[in-house]
């Protein structure tokens, strides 16, 4: 199964795929909590924001009036929890008329890199 792992960029860790917008349901928040837990337990953890998930990266977010934890504030703690590899799907940004100036974190990657990330992860958790 390891035969398609591609050398230096092989990730071989846990990939968390965030595909849903924040606040409408609990998925975004649960995904973030899972990422923080994976990171703090020392697992090699990557996060990919794709499809509706890219809305999670908009700032500023002020979720006080809807009584939810601020998703962007929580996400900004990822590096402290040793989750340093945060990726954002370029195509998903384009579809939503967003650019790097609109988002608060992550490295923007094209579809080929997204495919590589998926193919080289040992396990994928989708939120």
């Amino acid at each position: 199964m390891d035969k398609q792992l591609t050398g230096k960029s092989a990730n071989k860790g846990i990939l968390l795929v965030f595909r849903h917008a924040p606040y409408g349901n609990a998925l975004a928040r649960e995904g973030l909590e899972a990422a923080l837990a994976c990171g703090v337990m020392g697992a090699k953890t990557d996060v990919l924001y794709i499809n509706e998930g890219v809305w999670q990266l908009l700032e500023p977010q002020d979720s006080g009036a809807i009584d939810c934890k601020n998703q962007a504030s929580m996400a900004s703690a990822l590096a402290l929890y040793d989750v340093d590899d945060i990726w954002v799907d370029e195509n998903s940004l384009k579809q939503r008329n967003l650019s790097s100036a609109d988002i608060n974190a992550g490295k923007i990657i094209n579809t080929a890199r997204v495919q590589e990330l998926l193919a080289t992860s040992k396990s994928i958790l989708s939120f």
């Binding site: 199964m1 595909r19 499809n51 579809t111 998926l118 193919a119 992860s121 040992k122 994928i124």
Partner: protein
């Protein structure tokens, strides 16, 4: 090889389209639950996703539907796009075991 599972109908949800946008030629795509509607050979103009399925399939990607979910919904094998093979729970397990990881689109 990556296994993609899709459990939402292509007619009201972007899950299948999102999946097909990043599925690679050596991957397998398995439609389950309401996802099986995505395997239908639409009588209308060819939608984007059925084109993409045809193209990926020609390049080596494998497409499956879960038999029980098709039967439950009254979908006959003859109504499916030619790229699709019908499989069962054992086939699902075998695909998951063969895959380096599974991405579920929901």
């Amino acid at each position: 090889m990556l296994l993609h599972t899709v459990n939402k109908s292509a007619f009201n949800h972007s899950a299948l389209g999102d999946c097909l946008r990043v599925a690679a030629p050596n991957d397998a795509v398995l439609l389950i639950e309401n996802g099986v509607y995505g395997a239908l050979n639409s009588s209308q103009d060819e939608t984007d996703y059925s084109q993409r399925i045809k193209q990926l399939s020609a390049n080596g990607a494998r497409f499956y539907v879960l038999r029980a979910d098709c039967e439950a919904r009254g979908l006959d094998d003859s109504a499916l796009l030619p790229a699709f093979q019908v499989t069962d729970d054992a086939g699902f397990v075998a695909l998951a075991a063969e895959a380096s990881a599974t991405q579920s689109w929901y």
